[in-house]
Every structure is written in C-alpha cells, then in structure tokens.
C-alpha cells in the first residue's frame, strides 16, 4: 500500500509544487504583511483603528476622492479616444507597419512608460518645456496660469497618455471579432450604416468596451510611477500617502494606516477586476 500512495503523491501534482510554493512565499508573504499590519497594532493585538482612521481623517478621505476622481476621468477620456484610435487602426492588416508601430508603441506606453513618460511631459509642458516656450511666443504664458504639469490636472494629462494606449490594446481584439458577414447580413436586410452600428455593432461591443473602461479605471487607480516622477510623494493620491506613511520618517503607528490604505486599494481593484471578468464573459458570447 505504502509504495502506491507514494506513487500518487509523485503523480501529476508534483509538477506544480514549485509554482505553488513560489507564489505562496513571494506573493503570500507581502500580502500577509499588508493584511496583518492593517488589522493589528504595533504590539500585535487586533484593532480597527487603522481602517477607522482612513475613513474619518479628512486628509485620507481627500486622497481617496482625488484618486477615484482622476481614475474615473482618465478612464472615460482615455477610453473614448482609445476606442476611436483602435477603430482607426484596426482596419489595417495585422502585419502592416501601422499596426506593428501602434501595437508595440501602445504596449510601451501602457505598461512600461512610468517615469520616462513623466519627463516627456515635463519637457513639453514644464516650466521650461518646449510647448510652454512655443506658447509664450504667441503670447500665452502658462507659467502665469494655475496650470502646471505637477498639479493634479497635469498628472491627469500625463495619465491619459498611458490610458489611451491601454484602451487600444484592450479593445482591438473585440473590434477584430466583429465579422464582416454581420454587416453584410444587416445591409442585406435593409439596415443603414447607422442601423448596423445601432442594432448590431454597438450591442456586441458594449460589454467589451465597458469592461475595458473599467480596467482603465483600475489601472489609473493603481498607477503611481508617473505621478511620483511628476510631483513626488506629496501628490494628493492614495499611493503617495502610502509611501509617506511607510517610508520610515513617521511614527511606527502610522505604518498600520498606510497598510490599511493598501488593503482598501486592493479591494477597489479587486471589485474592478470582478466586474471586468463578468463583462468579459458576456463579451465572449459573440466575439472570438
């Protein structure tokens, strides 16, 4: 009996042990630290203090509100322009230079731009930026207005430049899934171009598009690198506050508040991802 049992243990499950152990250790450990630190005092007893602070202190509430606001606005604006950019590009063949350039360029900006993107905007619209100088020539002095690239609206402008590319990446597969036969069938049945969009394309695309905008929201909510490079950790967004609370120059007790903010960020993004997954499933009914 014993050898056979050993045989089953060495069976298929053994192959995913390295993966399971790795994830448990290096994803589980930091997550455990965040959760544990958020619900305990520095002495180790259970507390609700950290969470209640994040809800009652106006500064933390303000951070959350501006984080949510910037995420919502950049998701809607980025989603709108990204959708039309994807429509403009998708008709070209996947192997055309246009598609390759837009595709790889979008991936760079959407996933990996972070700090460099911030400096590109500083070079453009910063105090000595090229566009700032150009505008001065024609009599508009940005430095006299309330706009600076290191204000929240500047951060928003920079965020849009990674939200649009992400939207392109997310909706392109859905747009590719629209079959030419559907348009032919609709036209054959007497539908106008508008009728096709209104009754066929829009309903088929809607879940994918809404899901993508939702993901954009989560993306902006989690993002920090660009804002950090533009403003620093004084930026009025949740990640900036978490960095301030955890970078060690404040009281140890406030670590817990930073971790509680972290848990709340995870909850927001988890909700976004669940919504995205549900919408993706709906989108999959017609597309692919």
């Amino acid at each position: 009996m014993a050898p056979r049992r050993r045989g089953t243990l060495r069976g298929p499950w053994v192959g995913i042990v390295p993966f399971a152990v790795y994830v448990l250790l290096f994803l589980g450990l930091p997550l455990y630290e965040v959760l544990y630190g958020a619900i305990t005092t520095s002495g180790g007893s259970l507390t609700w203090y950290n969470f209640s602070q994040t809800f009652s202190q106006p500064e933390y509430r303000a951070d959350f509100i501006s984080s949510l606001k910037i995420s919502l606005e950049t998701a809607l604006i980025g989603g709108f322009f990204g959708f039309w950019l994807a429509c403009a590009v998708v008709t070209a063949s996947p192997r055309s230079p246009l598609r390759r350039i837009v595709g790889s360029g979008s991936a760079v900006l959407a996933y990996f731009a972070g700090v460099p993107l911030a400096f590109a905007w500083i070079a453009t619209l910063g105090r000595f930026g090229e566009l700032t100088k150009l505008l001065q020539h024609i009599g508009i002095n940005l430095n006299n207005t309330s706009f600076t690239i290191s204000s929240l609206s500047g951060v928003e402008l920079a965020y849009i430049s990674f939200q649009v590319p992400l939207m392109v990446l997310l909706v392109t597969p859905a747009l590719e899934g629209l079959r030419p036969e559907w348009r032919e069938a609709a036209t054959g049945l007497g539908a106008s171009s508008f009728g096709y969009i209104r009754h066929v394309a829009a309903p088929v695309l809607a879940p994918a598009v809404i899901g993508a905008v939702l993901l954009l929201f989560g993306n902006a909510f989690a993002a920090y690198a660009t804002a950090y490079a533009l403003v620093g950790d004084t930026v009025q967004l949740v990640p900036g506050t978490i960095q301030q609370l955890l970078s060690g120059n404040v009281l140890v007790d406030e670590n817990g508040i930073g971790l509680a903010l972290g848990v709340e960020m995870i909850v927001v993004i988890a909700l976004v991802m669940i919504g995205y997954a549900i919408l993706q499933r709906r989108a999959g009914r017609w597309l692919q």
Binding site: F19, P30, P116, G262
Partner: protein, 259 residues
C-alpha cells in the same frame, strides 16, 4: 476621413511630447546644443551603477521567471488540465495588487523580519527585489507562454521525446523550448521591460535602481533625465517592436495580440 483625423490627433498627442523631449534633451547644461545629456550616463558613476543593477535585476528576474513558468505551463497543459484555470487565475492575481501595496508589504516585512531574513533578503537589491519582480511579471509570462504552448502539438512532441528516451529536463530544454521560442521571447521581453521600468517598490525600499536614479536626476538635472527617458522609451519600444517580427509559426497573430 475621420480615420485620418484620429491618426493625426494621436500622432500630435503622442509624438509631440517625444519630439519636445528630444529637443529639450539636446540642450546641454552649459546652454549649448549637443549630445552631452546622452553621454552623461557614461561619466556619471552613480547612474552607471544604477543601470548595471537594473540590468542584473532584469536578467535574473527573466531567468527565474522562465525556469519557473515554462515547466509549470507545460505540466499543467499535459498532466493537470483541470487546474489550468486555477493556475491562470493565480498568475493573473498580481494585477490586483498595486506596486505601491506590494512595496508596502515588503517594507513592513523588512521592519518585522529578524536580522537573519533581513540580511538574507534585504541586504542587496538583487535578493530583495528579484523574487517579487518575478511575481509582478507572472501575468505577462503566463499568458504569453500559455498561448505558445497551446499552439504546438504538445502531446505528440512529448511522446516522441519520451520514446526516444529523453528525460523531463532534456524534453523541456531541447524539444519544447525551441518550439515555443516566440512565446519565450515575448515573455522575456515583457519581463525585461517591466523590471527596467519598475520604480515604485525600489524607491520605497530605498534601492538605487535605474528608474529611481532617473527620477532623482529630474530634480537636479532635467536635461539628463529627459535624455535618459527618451533612450529608455525608444529602447523599450524597439524591444517590443522587434518581437512583433519574431517567429511566424501560426501562433504569431495570437502572441502579437498580447501587445
């Protein structure tokens, strides 16, 4: 017509800042035009050191990621299809965790860890950051490797390799790997790009990686920071642009879709 309008607007919005950056970066700190800001990285020991650290991190992260994930993906497809969804879900899970929260967890771990773990893990950026960068790269790696492995006739390859007497390691390295090299290259490029861009965790844990040093340069020497940003964007873009050309084994279209 609307298509052209959209493309022109997009070109202005995205290429404008790039063009501005190039112009901006060509003005040296002494006020003259030239490539001084670009060659600064060769003269500045701190910058060069940070870049070396980041490149080491990128290499190590990619190596661990591939050694961990390629066998896992193959094994799951071959022997455990019923947990494929679970492994996929776990691999995509890091998307839910913002880098700043991952960093916060690590900062807190460092605070609570005994001196042993502290010196084992946190004494060097390589040991402190690599294990967690692998986690951050899991979603990219899983998706590209899974697409690659799905596109080949895994069962036949494995049976052929086994009947010729190949062990598990030989099979992965000499049979599977050459057949999924497009997917492996995609996963590796994405992991490298991710490590070279990651600033939030390393900044919080006070390690001097390239993006951290880049952000610091911004305060002292904007010209150098902008020049390095241009280089970093262009190099990352070339890397990802190149992989749209690699391999034409039918799986191409789907791998390309990841981008």
């Amino acid at each position: 017509m609307w298509r052209v309008t959209i493309l022109v607007l997009a070109a202005i919005y995205f290429l404008g800042p790039i063009a501005s950056s190039i112009r901006f970066s060509l003005v040296q700190s002494n006020g003259k035009d030239g490539f001084g800001n670009y060659t600064q990285v060769l003269h500045d020991a701190t910058l060069a050191h940070a870049l070396a650290t980041s490149l080491e991190l990128a290499g190590l992260t990619t190596a661990i990621l591939l050694v961990l994930m390629l066998p896992t993906v193959v094994w799951v497809r071959l022997r455990l299809p019923r947990v494929a969804l679970l492994v996929e879900t776990v691999s995509v899970l890091p998307i839910v965790i913002p880098p700043i929260v991952m960093g916060a967890g690590l900062a807190s771990l460092q605070l609570h860890a005994g001196s042993q773990i502290d010196s084992l893990l946190f004494s060097s950026p390589l040991t402190a950051l690599t294990p967690f960068y692998v986690i951050l790269a899991l979603p990219f790696a899983y998706r590209s490797l899974d697409v690659g492995v799905r596109a080949i006739d895994l069962r036949t390859l494995v049976d052929a390799a086994r009947s010729l007497g190949a062990g598990w390691v030989t099979m992965i390295t000499r049979v599977i790997l050459p057949n999924v090299r497009t997917a492996v290259l995609t996963a590796a490029s994405l992991a490298i790009a991710l490590v070279l861009a990651e600033v939030v965790i390393s900044e919080l844990l006070l390690y001097d990686t390239f993006p951290v040093e880049l952000a610091n340069q911004g305060q002292e020497n904007a010209g150098v920071a902008v020049a390095l940003s241009v280089l970093s964007l262009v190099i990352t873009w070339l890397l990802l642009f190149a992989i749209t050309f690699v391999g034409n084994r039918g799986s191409r279209g789907r791998v390309g879709r990841l981008l």
